[in-house]
Symmetry: C2
Subunit: 156 residues, 2 copies
Amino acid sequence: MFKEMFRRHAAGVAIITVNYNGHPFGFTATSVASLSAEPPRFTFNMARSSSSWPAVANSAYIGVHMLGLENRELADRFARTRNRFEGDHWAEGPHGVPILKDVAGWLVGKVQMRLSFENNAVVVVEVVDGEVGGNGSPLLYHSGAYSQPVPLDYEI
Amino acid sequence: MFKEMFRRHAAGVAIITVNYNGHPFGFTATSVASLSAEPPRFTFNMARSSSSWPAVANSAYIGVHMLGLENRELADRFARTRNRFEGDHWAEGPHGVPILKDVAGWLVGKVQMRLSFENNAVVVVEVVDGEVGGNGSPLLYHSGAYSQPVPLDYEI
């Protein structure tokens, strides 16, 4: 029942990245949420079984990338594959954090707190840098598939 | 820049409710995210300046309602008005938590932790009950307006 409820809850798609001992790590997340605008802080949740957890647990800075419709392949790549950083689709950004190119925007922030609940964790980040990208439509995840938002008065 | 980034980040719309000393409280939230499926836990973020914060801060149980397209007026009511519980659109549910009728689904859970960051807080909830509602399309909030998700291959 819980899973069905969150299948019904549409979410924006983001990619979290982190530099750990000189190596880039990253994963697709649908739990990114604003915490406060002043100071600029956001949260995300993740499994501590994730291959990126040791990097998130031990690095001071983290990046988040908001994805647009044109970033669907990037979302898949960071959700399902292992060769996430092979290629020139990224570069080192502020504080060494891997920054993905051609996304809707990115933020880099300092981790304020990691709160573990058994096998999962809530991470709180305070933003220190960022850049807004192209003004496209955001990529959504809903009911096990990607989708796009359209206005309510648009008949489908 | 931070605000623009989160304007670009589409989110599902939910309503949080709580019973505090016999009085119903509630507000519209776009920060609800799954934390883990086993045990079923979710998180949400809120301002401590919210009129609902004293209720959230001092109650053991909390409800979350996933909204569908047909719940747009409910979303507005719990975001902008004061008479949120005048009417028969709700009833007391498990542990006294106010349950809104005709939503996409609701969950009631026990608060595991409230973590304050200056004027805002992260709340972690472990689900103890719930009910899935009608199978409609979820209500989204994006770029300052409500919207609906449609598949990527749908030409708009």
